[in-house]
């Protein structure tokens, strides 16, 4: 075997502490090395040409490059080798920069270490086999989990590119939190007016299959080849015959159910459609409230339905879909502070009296109050006595940036929506006074800072820097005790109503979903991307992408941008018929495998399956382990666990590793 060695100076990065010429000279002496040279920038075009030329001139079989981390330029050098006719897996990269020059300062010993590292890689490359990448087929069909604005955008983008999309939404209607908002910053355009056309577009799109009131119950498979089971929750109404006439909703006699769309500030019947523009416009029976499910009585809806669509006995059904890529867009939840949630990280805000005083409301409740379709038809009326509040206080950072209560992060949107709330209030209550308690105003974004200044300068909202300590009721007023930290003066405001800008938190089911998908998540339950800067929508599991607030608190424009990015990544995946991936996977030797399945127990990716070996008569001889190459990530845990050494990690087999260690023997 003829091996070529190339040492890169990386400008001064390696050359400063490692004598590259000496390394090239020393490695040239090693057995098997037919060519050795050094160059200032091996990754540059002339550098790559050096490699190609050497391969052609000296008929090299394998090359070793001493340069930066393989994360940076392994691909570059493999491509250069392939262009000159050498199998790309006959290329080894030695990390002389991060592993040697950057961490040492003594030139002679760093040079010696560099030579040793090169010797190790040369011993390995001698035992490398030419490999071919694994090719797996791609199912060109995307699953979008969550039908809020992020899910809608992602689904439309992928579908408009010509691929089929399955959209799953757990609520009876798509639309998410955006459908609850009154107006949107910084333009103050009506949220429903810009959202509902998109919802209808999703419903009418021939490429989108919508499963509303459904949940993902199981995910199997791997990139390009997922098999997803979806649980369709029983509506009690057969959606294939229902026309959405709404007669059952009108006639339902049970009208005392809490309206969750109105954030508990209104009531609705047991048979309901969440809001008038719901998509699909098919009602659902609230089984906890409906008297039929309690004592078998009523059945009014069944009597009035002209299409015989009501089916009280309807059960949850399961459908399985073949999927190539998954976009997770499960969104956020608002931090509710009246009850202590199961998540023990969160402590309540007893001092602000939310849940105790009716006129202390959260951000989403104020959105409903300000919304033209809300419980007050858009008039600003306080919940307790439906009177117009003349003095209103907005408190920012409730829950957010509060280590003691459980969240260290900034929820990012509250500064903007509080400014919007205060503006909406001032536009509707001209003689009213609006106060905002803030710690910092974070209004980064196009026209955002201008929007906040408009609230202060044009609409006369009074901003007070300081956190509120306590709210208590006194003589029908809410007494808000704060401190103006700029003036250094205590502030007490007798308010009629208080709006708390509570934190955005992860959905409580997010960790379970993440575990099902094999996607990492942070302490707070937000899903984790692979790289915070360069790969913000991809997860560490291939073929699963993130969109919107399930990743971190973000506003509508950012959600839409992220959804389109996730859709673009999905389209990149669907752009090819076959997927190529690294052939570094485990392989089980069938003749020695004893079928103990220790490997199956330790595998973190569920890549080990059982395979039956039968003779020609069809009798079972033994059951052995078998590696699914699509799932295997090449971590090598099975290899280390196998008691009979029957698992080999291709590209890193025992012979290669032992010879690397033996090469070090000369060092000690």
């Amino acid at each position: 075997m003829k091996i070529g060695v190339f040492i890169c100076y990386c400008g001064e990065n390696i050359g400063r502490t490692v004598d590259c010429a000496a390394v090239a000279k020393a490695t040239a002496m090693l057995p098997g090395v037919a060519h050795s040279e050094d160059y200032k920038y091996m990754c540059s075009d002339p550098g790559q040409n050096l490699i190609k030329q050497a391969i052609l001139d000296k008929k090299l079989d394998a090359i070793v490059v001493g340069s930066c981390s393989p994360h940076m330029h392994e691909k570059t050098f493999r491509k250069a080798a392939a262009a000159a006719g050498v199998n790309p897996y006959m290329v080894e990269i030695v990390n002389l920069r991060e592993h040697c020059s950057w961490i040492h300062d003594d030139i002679p010993s760093a040079t010696k270490k560099a030579i040793d590292l090169m010797r190790i890689a040369i011993e390995k490359v001698k035992r490398n086999d030419p490999l071919t990448p694994i090719r797996v087929p791609v199912t060109k069909r995307a699953l979008v989990i969550g039908g809020g604005i992020s899910g809608i955008q992602a689904a439309l983008d992928v579908a408009n590119a010509g691929y089929e999309v399955v959209l799953v939404e757990k609520e009876p209607s798509i639309g998410g939190h955006m459908s609850q908002l009154s107006e949107t910053f910084p333009t103050l355009d009506c949220s429903q007016c810009i959202l509902t056309p998109r919802m209808v577009e999703v419903y009418q799109h021939p490429k989108i299959k919508l499963y509303a009131y459904s949940e993902v119950s199981n995910v199997e498979g791997f990139i390009g080849n997922f098999s997803v089971t979806i649980r369709r929750k029983a509506r009690g109404v057969r959606d294939e015959v229902c026309t959405g006439c709404g007669l059952c909703v009108q006639k339902c006699p049970i009208k005392k159910a809490q309206n969750s769309f109105e954030e508990g500030m209104a009531i609705r019947p047991a048979m309901y459609v969440p809001f008038p523009q719901a998509v699909p416009n098919i009602p659902v029976i609230d089984r906890e409230v409906c008297t039929y499910y309690k004592n078998g009585k009523c059945q009014m809806c069944k009597k009035v339905c002209g299409r015989d669509a009501i089916d009280f006995e309807q059960q949850d059904t399961f459908v399985t879909e073949a999927i190539g890529a998954i976009i997770v867009a499960t969104g956020y939840k608002l931090y509710t502070i009246d009850k202590k949630p199961e998540n023990s990280l969160i402590k309540g805000y007893g001092e602000y009296g939310y849940g105790m005083y009716k006129d202390v409301v959260n951000g989403l409740q104020f959105e409903r109050i300000a919304s033209a379709s809300g419980p007050t038809n858009g008039e600003i009326l306080r919940p307790s006595d439906k009177s117009e509040p003349k003095k209103i206080v907005f408190i920012q950072c409730v829950g957010s940036r509060d280590e003691a209560k459980g969240f260290t992060y900034c929820s990012k949107i509250c500064c903007m929506y509080t400014a919007k709330h205060a503006m909406l209030y001032k536009h509707k209550v001209h003689d009213g006074e609006a106060y905002v308690f803030y710690m910092d105003i974070r209004s980064g974004g196009k026209m955002y800072e201008e929007f906040v200044r408009r609230a202060i300068e044009e609409d006369g909202v009074k901003y007070i820097r300081g956190r509120v300590s306590k709210i208590y009721e006194d003589d029908g007023k809410l007494v808000v005790k704060g401190e103006d930290t700029i003036a250094g003066m205590p502030v007490t405001i007798n308010a009629d109503m208080v709006v708390l800008a509570t934190a955005m938190i992860a959905q409580s089911e997010a960790p379970q979903l993440a575990q099902m998908l094999g996607v990492p998540y942070d302490t707070y339950g937000f899903l984790q991307e692979v790289h915070p800067k360069l790969r913000p929508v991809e997860t560490s599991t291939g073929g699963i992408f993130l969109a919107g607030a399930c990743h971190s608190p973000r506003d509508i424009p950012e959600c839409v941008a992220m959804a389109s990015a996730a859709a673009a990544k999905t389209m990149v995946l669907f752009g090819s018929d076959m997927l190529e991936r690294e052939p570094v996977v485990a392989k089980v030797h069938a003749d020695t495998c004893a079928g103990c399945f220790y490997c199956q127990k330790v595998c973190a990716y569920s890549a080990i399956e059982r395979k039956e070996i039968r003779n020609r008569q069809g009798e079972l001889i033994k059951t052995i382990a078998y590696v699914n190459e699509g799932l295997c990530q090449g971590c090598g845990t099975c290899n280390a666990t196998c008691p009979s050494k029957s698992v080999e990690l291709i590209g890193f087999n025992d012979e290669q590793i032992f010879n690397e260690i033996l090469a070090l023997d000369e060092v000690f």
């Binding site: 003691a404 956190r467 300590s469 306590k470 401190e483 250094g488 502030v491 990492p520 560490s540």
Partner: protein
């Protein structure tokens, strides 16, 4: 290990060792404060929630958060001279509501201790005298002795005749005893004081 996992570790307590390597040397005043309270005033992000809920705020020269600010900026004398330090009632409302879990009541106590040690003169001479008289009684007797405390306080402030008319009534009802009641193991309390000093 895949990349996502790696971020998770960094995000939590994975790199405490590394943190120690980069420890910054603090000013001696701050180091002393940290030694007493176990917390760094840099933690405070000046939201003002402590001041908003403080019951003695309206009597104090500076809002409690401002005293922390002085310390953060290095104006130690200004902080120690502030009467806020001595007016603090130790009700701990601030500590209970602090979003950063900064124990402000403990900070104020440390400031009183450090101010006394440095012989800082504040406007609140009487409060300081009362503070010292009370602590002296604990040091000598292991528990509070009202008569001794009143005596020491009066000598310190030279306000000898205030409330003297109350003494006969209190004596006759057994509210004041001339001699202190000592505790069984007085030495252990003295040892505590010695350790602190």
């Amino acid at each position: 290990m895949y990349a996502g996992e790696c971020y998770k570790q960094i995000g939590t307590s994975g790199n405490t060792e590394e943190m120690k390597m980069h420890e910054v040397h603090k000013d001696p005043f701050i180091e002393e404060l940290i030694a007493i309270t176990g917390q760094d005033p840099a933690q405070c992000y000046q939201c003002g929630k402590c001041s908003a809920g403080c019951p003695v705020r309206e009597f104090a020269e500076d809002a409690p958060n401002r005293v922390v600010r002085y310390v953060q900026l290095g104006f130690y004398d200004k902080a120690l001279q502030s009467n806020t330090v001595w007016l603090c009632a130790g009700c701990q409302t601030c500590s209970g509501r602090c979003p950063k879990d900064f124990h402000l009541a403990q900070f104020m106590d440390a400031m009183r201790e450090m101010g006394t040690k440095r012989h800082i003169v504040t406007k609140e001479k009487k409060t300081v005298a009362f503070h010292e008289s009370f602590l002296d009684q604990i040091k000598w007797n292991g528990r509070s002795h009202e008569f001794g405390m009143v005596l020491e306080y009066k000598l310190k402030t030279m306000d000898l005749f205030k409330d003297v008319d109350l003494v006969p009534g209190m004596l006759s009802r057994g509210k004041l005893s001339i001699l202190p009641e000592k505790i069984k193991d007085g030495n252990s309390v003295k040892k505590l004081f010695k350790e602190k000093e």
